[in-house]
Amino acid sequence: MTETPTGGIPGSSRGGRIEPVELQVEMQRSYIDYSMAVIVGRALPDVRDGLKPVHRRVLYAMYDGGYRPDRGFSKCARVVGEVMGQYHPHGDSAIYDTLVRLAQPWVMRAPLVDSQGNFGSPGNDPAAAMRYTECKMAPLAMEMVRDIDEETVDFTPNYDGRSQEPTILPARFPNLLVNGSAGIAVGMATNIPPHNLREVAEGVQWALANPEAGREELLEALLARVKGPDFPTKALIVGRQGI
């Protein structure tokens, strides 16, 4: 296979060379690649739809695959397969964990997935394996993807270029504020508490009605409408100063 100097396969000839690379340079390069990828594309949510890429892919795959609120439940394994095969080339357990969290009412202020079966408990019990549990989109999740086919958002090719995926979901409500988000990237992290959907919606309506409002004014109006974080597990906030 290696008799010819160009190698066995055209385009792969590199002649058995050894090139030096400085340890520091390689460390720096690899680390930057990794950390930037984690920061931009994994651990931190997009402010527009409040979703990390894996969440977005799960929701879009469920929408695209027809696991909609008006139909019956489907096995989670089918959804996970869909997501993994089409959009998210990573481990199945990571995808299933994401799906489970989207459905747990004590994690999400407004769950985006309806569940059927053992999805764990607040006491840290794990959900049943994905071959047992079933799911479909929650009605609210339809608001995240409404009019997505009307060219409202940009699409990019997926990882193998066979299909398209949205870069962002056309969220109808400020999901980042409603459901919050927590993520640890490299060198930076995020932690946003969830808020009450009705309060946030009122705030948004005020902001739309008063587009001229200055920053100070807007902040004041929002503080009047959104009283503070609203945790799904119920919580007593000690000290109102920081709100």
């Binding site: 385009g11 002649g15 090139e19 030096p20 690379v21 690649d33 984690v38």
Partner: protein, 691 residues
């Protein structure tokens, strides 16, 4: 001595040779001896000796402070190689000395072994006793001026190489007291007269810490100092974020000036040392004690200590404000009291239940920052550099005081005491675990290299390390492809699962207990750290073959950290390589073969060339992006990445170990702040963003 030299009637030839007779025996009088053999008095004529002159002069002022008469010392480095030391002490006595018949200040400055520190009520304790006093400084200076404010007048006298230029002159009246000494070290005696401001600053910062309440001002009025002032300022402001008093500032004349004054003394010192670390308990423990007034030793002790969450011990001991690097009796006393006290207290409170759970001295001192400062009237220094205290009475005294006072503190602060005992116990556990793990790792190295190898290693047939290669691959999926595609004669495959431990952040026992790390260490066969032996390396090419995605890059950094921290000689010797698997496959339609490319640029070029050559790509999935090595067939992996005649390897080289060291601690260490700013600075260099 030969016959000829005694006889006067010797031949003229011999007379020309300097004869070695009674006339050749010189008696060096006083300061003459200092000039001939400066090394005997100040250690060297290099930079160290030069700075020693400053210490010697300032020590005198500090002695005034110790005696309670001085609270401010200003040290200025002058342009032209001079140094000025101003204090507000009592001033050197100016009255006529009874036996010498000249003013006392002239005696102090011109007669060796003259001073107020040999008993006689001048000083009780003194830091300057190890030296021979300011007369040595005088002897080695081309010029020395002294100005004394005392007894209602200002007095001055100047010297050249220790010889008075004239009498002590009385000037105008003044109500102030104090001494100003200005000296210019001789260029003929010293190799350099360029003082390091950094050295001086560090020394006097320490001095200020050790002398509670004493204000020491360090100034640099040299011309070049003004030029570099900005650079220094930048650097020092960053380094000094604890005590605002020490922030350097430019005075009006453009002089670099720093003031040190610490009202809490050693407590401030401990906080200063711990400023970059997390304390393990909130309080800085401090106590002091003095020996009974009637005892002749004049012993007193000050201790400040605090444990931090780090793993290194930093116990600094001082005797009469001299840093005793080599320890000595006071350190022994401190250590033995500390160890037995922590153990006894732990047993009393039921934390240490069994005899074998008792912790060792090293365990107790893990993460301890402590300053032990003793003062005594007759210090004896031993050791190579005269920095080891030899007074036997110090040991018993320190031991007793620490036992009493720290015991008291523990009784009063049981919560913090428990934290300390627990920390010591976890250190003990770690020590035992590390030893076990090391023994395990050592036991695995069989003579033939077989038997004890990790189960997952697919070893090669050859036993000649020079031709052997080991590929460390990511995950069993990739391991399968690699095992199928390799040349089993010389290529070994070691799959590791997922992301290995970050060794930068974990303690050694955790690292050695980690399965993947154990597998790598035993597969390579060299051992780690002290037991590292390059001869035992089983493969001369250690190739890291991670997937070409971002997680692969992360694993690569983790592996490099492991190798750098535990087996650095491997990198230094150039045995570490990186494999370069292809990124894409172009699936040309039949009858053309598929092509592999290794970068985005290459993909575009090859694709273009191919299309021009009349080749067609299929509509469906024309270009496959490899996410993992497991996607490749074994033969493809061989062709593209493993085949020694056809692959590209990157050899990892180490050019600057110190810089690399810093890089590792920024990227993989505990300090998030540093890491973030690094990422922000370098974000633009990202090669590919891949989600």
């Amino acid at each position: 001595m030969s016959e000829e030299t005694i006889s006067p009637s010797t031949s003229p030839e011999l007379a020309a040779v300097p004869s070695y007779d009674a006339s050749a025996i010189q008696v060096l009088e006083g300061l003459e001896a200092v000039r001939k053999r400066p090394g005997m008095y100040i250690g060297s004529t290099g930079e160290r000796g030069l700075h020693h002159l400053v210490w010697e002069v300032v020590d005198n002022s500090v002695d005034e402070a110790l005696a309670g008469y001085c609270d401010r010392i200003v040290v200025t480095v002058l342009d032209g190689g001079g140094v000025e030391v101003v204090d507000n002490g009592r001033g050197i006595p100016v009255d006529i000395h009874a036996t010498e018949g000249i003013p006392a200040v002239t005696v102090v400055l011109t007669v060796l072994h003259a001073g107020g520190k040999f008993g006689g009520g001048g000083y009780k304790v003194s830091g300057g006793l190890h030296g021979v006093g300011v007369s040595v400084v005088n002897a080695l200076s081309k010029k020395l001026e002294v100005e004394i404010r005392r007894d209602g007048y200002r007095w001055t006298q100047s010297f050249t190489y220790g010889v008075p230029d004239g009498e002590l002159v009385r000037h105008e009246e003044t109500s102030e007291t104090g001494t100003t000494t200005r000296f210019w070290a001789s260029e003929d005696i010293f190799e350099t007269t360029d003082y390091s401001f950094e050295t001086i600053t560090n020394r006097f910062r320490e001095m200020a810490f050790l002398n509670k309440g004493l204000e020491i001002v360090v100034r640099d009025s040299r011309r070049q100092a003004a030029e570099i002032i900005d650079a220094v300022e930048d650097a020092t402001v960053e380094a000094e974020d604890i005590a605002p008093a020490t922030e350097p500032h430019r005075s009006e004349e453009g002089i670099l000036e720093r003031t040190f004054k610490f009202d809490r003394g050693l407590v401030d010192y401990v906080e200063h040392l711990n400023r970059r670390r997390d304390p393990a308990h909130p309080t800085v423990i401090d106590f002091e004690a003095e020996a009974a007034a009637n005892s002749s030793s004049g012993l007193s002790l000050e201790v400040a200590m605090q444990w931090n969450t780090g793993y290194t011990e930093s116990v600094h001991t001082f005797a009469n404000t001299i840093n005793t690097h080599e320890g000595g009796t006071h350190e022994e006393g401190f250590r033995s009291a500390l160890t037995s006290l922590v153990n006894n207290w732990g047993e009393e409170w039921g934390l240490i239940k069994k005899k074998e759970d008792r912790v060792s001295g090293d365990d107790v001192r893990e993460g301890l920052t402590a300053i032990v400062s003793v003062k005594l009237s007759e210090p004896q220094f031993e050791g190579q550099t005269k920095t080891k205290l030899g007074n036997t009475e110090a040991k018993g005294f320190v031991q007793r005081v620490v036992n009493d006072q720290l015991g008291d503190w523990l009784e009063k602060n049981p919560a913090e005491g428990k934290d300390i005992v627990r920390k010591a116990m976890s250190a003990a556990q770690a020590r035992i675990a590390a030893r076990k793990a090391r023994e395990l790792a050592r036991g695995r190295k069989g003579l033939l290299g077989g038997g004890g190898l990790p189960g997952k290693l697919a070893d090669c047939q050859s036993t000649n390390p020079e031709e052997c290669e080991i590929f460390v691959v990511e995950g069993d999926s990739a391991g399968g492809s690699a095992k199928g595609g390799r040349d089993p004669r010389i290529q070994a495959i070691l799959p590791i699962r997922g992301k290995i431990l970050n060794v930068e952040k974990a303690r050694i026992d955790k690292v050695l207990a980690n399965n993947e790390v154990q597998a790598i260490i035993s597969a390579l066969g060299t051992g780690i750290h002290d037991e590292f032996d390059l001869e035992k390396l089983r493969y001369h090419k250690i190739v890291m073959m991670a997937d070409a995605d971002v997680d692969g890059h992360h694993i690569r950094t983790l592996l490099l950290t492991l190798l750098f921290r535990f087996m650095k000689p491997l990198i230094e010797a150039g045995y570490v390589y990186l494999a370069q698997p292809p990124l894409y496959r172009l699936r040309w339609n039949k009858p053309h073969d598929h092509e592999f490319v290794y970068s985005d640029a290459e993909r575009e070029a090859v694709q273009k060339a191919g299309v021009e050559a009349g080749k067609k790509l299929p509509k469906e999935n024309p270009v496959q992006r490899y996410k993992g090595l497991g996607e490749m067939n074994p033969d493809e992996l061989w062709d593209t990445t493993l085949d020694p005649d056809n692959r590209l390897l990157l050899q990892v080289t180490l050019e600057d170990a110190a810089q690399a060291d810093e890089m590792f601690s920024i990227l993989m260490g505990e300090d998030v702040e540093q890491r973030r700013s690094f990422i922000q600075r370098n974000a633009k260099d990202v090669r590919f963003l891949d989600i």
